[in-house]
């Protein structure tokens, strides 16, 4: 101020600013160093309008009273009556949402402490059926490791940034990926060894983890120890079952019905889904072995496959295009993207991504490049996507025979090596390697 020398007042100003910064930093540190809340599962509000689930301001008794009063009037006000009834429904739905959370918490626990009902846990004599709680506990929880090097929190270490804590495929990384990471909550998995309407087996999930999915952002986890992969497979199954159960219970809430909260009711609902998972191993497609073919035999098979590709019976050209470039049909959506709507932006939904028929000349096969993988794609189709099941089954005798499917497999396998797919220069082969 007035009395101070210029030097002293500059020092004073500097001192004040320093104190100001120090104070601000201390405050920020105090705010930032609060203990983070433990991770929570997010609600699945896909296809629903969150505004429908907000409770009205009044209690149920107050509303019932007012409705009764209006109904007693000689000329009841229709509009007011329906408004009050809507408020009652909103209350019911809000209560239902709370009950839903309680039921899910009881049945499945939290991301840090998973749980499954005793009836759903693996029995020692049937290791393929049910859930192994020890494996779930290894995959769940925050990332840490035991003294002997065993990793805990595997899902959060490897999967959560893409697939999300709830397995909804909306992790922080998901927004940058094409295609999006899988949403486990529908219990639908694309690349399986099982028939058209069956769930994947544990081996299918293991294969996906070990091989990754070529042409997508799903990496190969082959370098992880076998026990880690088993634990992750268990946890993915757990998230899928939890998601399916949540959808089932949500249909009660959406309808305004009370959510079942007894052990028996919830168990019977749960077993509807769990039984589908348990019976998946019975639905594995094991193709008849193809005939041993010499060179001319193989060429004949490829030619037969080519004819079938263009034929009206199989109609492959309609979607994959006459040259197999995937340019035949207009792009559609798979079942996960079909469900994405704008009302869910509050829940960080992502914009729809279109589904393209596969470019068969690229030599990139998402579900695996083995002949048996290609056979299964054609026989059973791809669940959740548009590829239909083409093969013969007892219910569908008019489908393609095993020989026909092997011919198609040989044709598809030959496509990347045809002269039109040949590149010559390395740059163009890179172009072709893109999915």
């Amino acid at each position: 101020m007035m009395g101070l020398s210029p030097e002293k007042s500059t020092n004073r100003a500097a001192g004040e600013s320093l104190r100001g910064w120090a104070a601000a930093l201390c405050l920020l540190a105090a705010l930032g160093c609060t203990k983070a809340d433990p991770a929570q599962f997010k609600l699945n509000m896909e296809g629903l309008d969150p505004a429908d689930f907000v409770a009205s301001g009044s209690t149920d008794e107050a509303l019932a009273e007012r409705i009764a009063k209006i109904e007693q009037e000689p000329d009841p006000d229709e509009e007011q009556l329906s408004e009050l009834q809507n408020a009652q429904s909103a209350n019911a739905r809000a209560k239902g949402l709370r009950d839903l959370k309680v039921a899910l918490h009881a049945l499945f626990g939290t991301p840090d402490e998973p749980f499954v009902l005793k009836e759903l846990q693996t029995q020692p004599d049937t290791p393929e059926v049910g859930f192994d709680l020890a494996k779930l506990r290894r995959a769940a929880g925050p990332v840490s490791s035991l003294e002997d090097g065993t990793q805990i929190g595997l899902y959060r270490q490897h999967c959560v940034h893409c697939h999300g804590i709830t397995g909804d495929g909306v992790g922080p990384t998901a927004a940058f990926l094409t295609p999006y990471p899988r949403d486990f909550r529908r219990g639908i998995f694309k690349f399986t060894s099982t028939s058209e309407s069956a769930k994947p087996t544990k081996d299918d999930l293991k294969r996906t983890l070990k091989q990754g999915i070529a042409g997508t952002a799903m990496p190969s986890f082959a370098l992880l120890p076998e026990a880690d992969i088993d634990a992750l497979v268990e946890y993915v199954k757990y998230l899928a079952l939890r998601g399916e159960m949540e959808t089932a219970l949500m249909s009660y809430v959406d309808a305004g019905d009370p959510v079942p909260l007894t052990h028996e009711e919830l168990l019977s609902e749960l077993q509807n889904y769990a039984s589908m998972w348990d019976s998946a191993a019975d639905e594995v497609i094991t193709p008849e072995a193809p005939p041993e073919l010499d060179e001319p035999g193989l060429l004949a098979s490829i030619e037969a496959g080519r004819k079938l590709f263009l034929d009206a019976k199989a109609q492959c050209v309609q979607c994959h295009g006459p040259t197999g470039l995937g340019d035949g049909a207009e792009k559609r959506f798979d079942v996960w993207n079909e469900a994405k709507t704008d009302t869910n932006l509050a829940f960080f939904s992502l914009p729809k991504q279109q589904l393209q028929p596969r470019n068969l000349r690229s030599g990139v096969y998402r579900g695996g490049r083995r002949p048996v993988d290609l056979y299964r794609r054609i026989q059973a189709g791809i669940k959740g996507a548009q590829m239909p099941s083409m093969g013969q089954t007892p219910a569908k005798p008019s489908g393609l025979t095993p020989t026909e499917i092997w011919n198609l497999v040989h044709y598809v396998q030959s496509l990347p090596y045809e002269p039109t797919s040949e590149t010559g220069s390395p740059e163009r082969s890179i172009q072709r390697d893109r999915n």
Binding site: A24, L25, T262, Q318, R332, S398
Partner: protein, 296 residues
């Protein structure tokens, strides 16, 4: 004084940091799982003792005798809209033509009746014929259109999907909580499927090759489903009399498909209404006028 120039800096930084911190508006109720009441419910569910549970819909518990009928007619309130055309884009033009009729909203110009309005009972305590029908339901397609726009089906009942066209179609049905269905049917081919779960709303069936093709399949546990005909009339026979039954209406072009807004009448709440059917009698809802604004 010099403080105004210097110490506002850190203050501003602080404000920006706090303002930038993520805040999402969520409809996610906070449930305190440590609350003893809630903990008791959770423990009961997990252990399976006699736990607290909510009553399971008292409406369907009332007992009555006899059977009755519900009928009515949905009429379009306004000038009947012309049936639109959907372009096929020249796909399989010899089989499908250049365009096909838009079946999403069909109003008969003479009677103003609205087709394909679904009316169904949400829950009943007893059924006249609880056995699964042995006759399969037929779901056919020809000229690149599904021949039945809404097909009710019983859970466990066989449904035959036919392809009466010369070239292949595929019929993709993805019922929530049930097995995926997506068979490719060559010309003249057929397959048989069945549904394990009842659904709350009709499930779409589409074709990947001919994307304009869309129809609906509606699996229910009981047979109390009616789909309105071309004159807009529907009839559900043999409903259990003497109990309050909640009915629901549905149309593919109304209110997200849930039927809310289809009828603005008292007692109709979000496309649902409650009725008691008289024994050996007919409950006639009469002509129900549906405003044009209800359809999207």
């Amino acid at each position: 004084m010099s403080c105004s120039k210097y110490s506002i800096g850190p203050l501003l930084a602080l404000v920006i940091c706090v303002a930038g911190c993520e805040r999402r508006a969520v409809v996610d109720p906070v449930v305190d799982f440590d609350d003893p009441e809630i903990a008791k419910v959770v423990a009961a569910i997990r252990e399976g003792g006699e736990g607290s549970g909510s009553e399971d819909g008292g409406e369907a518990a009332a007992a009555g005798t006899g059977w009755g009928t519900l009928k009515g007619r949905f009429l379009f309130d306004g000038a009947a809209p012309a049936i639109g055309r959907v372009s096929t884009g020249g796909k399989d033009a010899d089989m499908c033509g250049d365009s096909v009729p838009d079946q999403s909203l069909l109003v008969d110009p003479a009677t103003k009746g609205i087709s394909n309005v679904v009316v169904f009972a949400r829950k009943v305590s007893r059924q006249k014929s609880p056995e699964t029908p042995t006759e399969p339901a037929i779901f056919d397609q020809k000229a690149c259109l599904f021949l039945t726009h809404v097909l009710p089906v019983r859970t466990g009942q066989a449904m035959k999907i036919l392809n009466s066209d010369p070239k292949a179609h595929n019929t993709a049905i993805s019922p929530p909580g049930d097995g995926n269905i997506n068979p490719q049917l060559p010309g003249g081919g057929e397959t048989t499927v069945s549904f394990k779960r009842a659904q709350n709303a009709p499930v779409p069936a589409t074709c990947s090759i001919h994307p304009w093709m869309k129809a609906f399949v509606f699996p229910r546990a009981d047979g109390y489903v009616a789909v309105s005909g071309p004159d807009g009339s529907f009839e559900i026979k043999d409903l259990p009399a003497g109990e309050i039954i909640e009915f629901m209406v549905w149309h593919e072009r109304v209110g997200g498909g849930s039927g809310g807004g289809l009828v603005a009448k008292s007692g109709w709440n979000g496309g649902r209404f409650k009725l008691t059917i008289p024994a050996d009698g007919v409950e006639d809802l009469g002509d129900i006028a549906v405003p044009e604004a209800a359809f999207k």
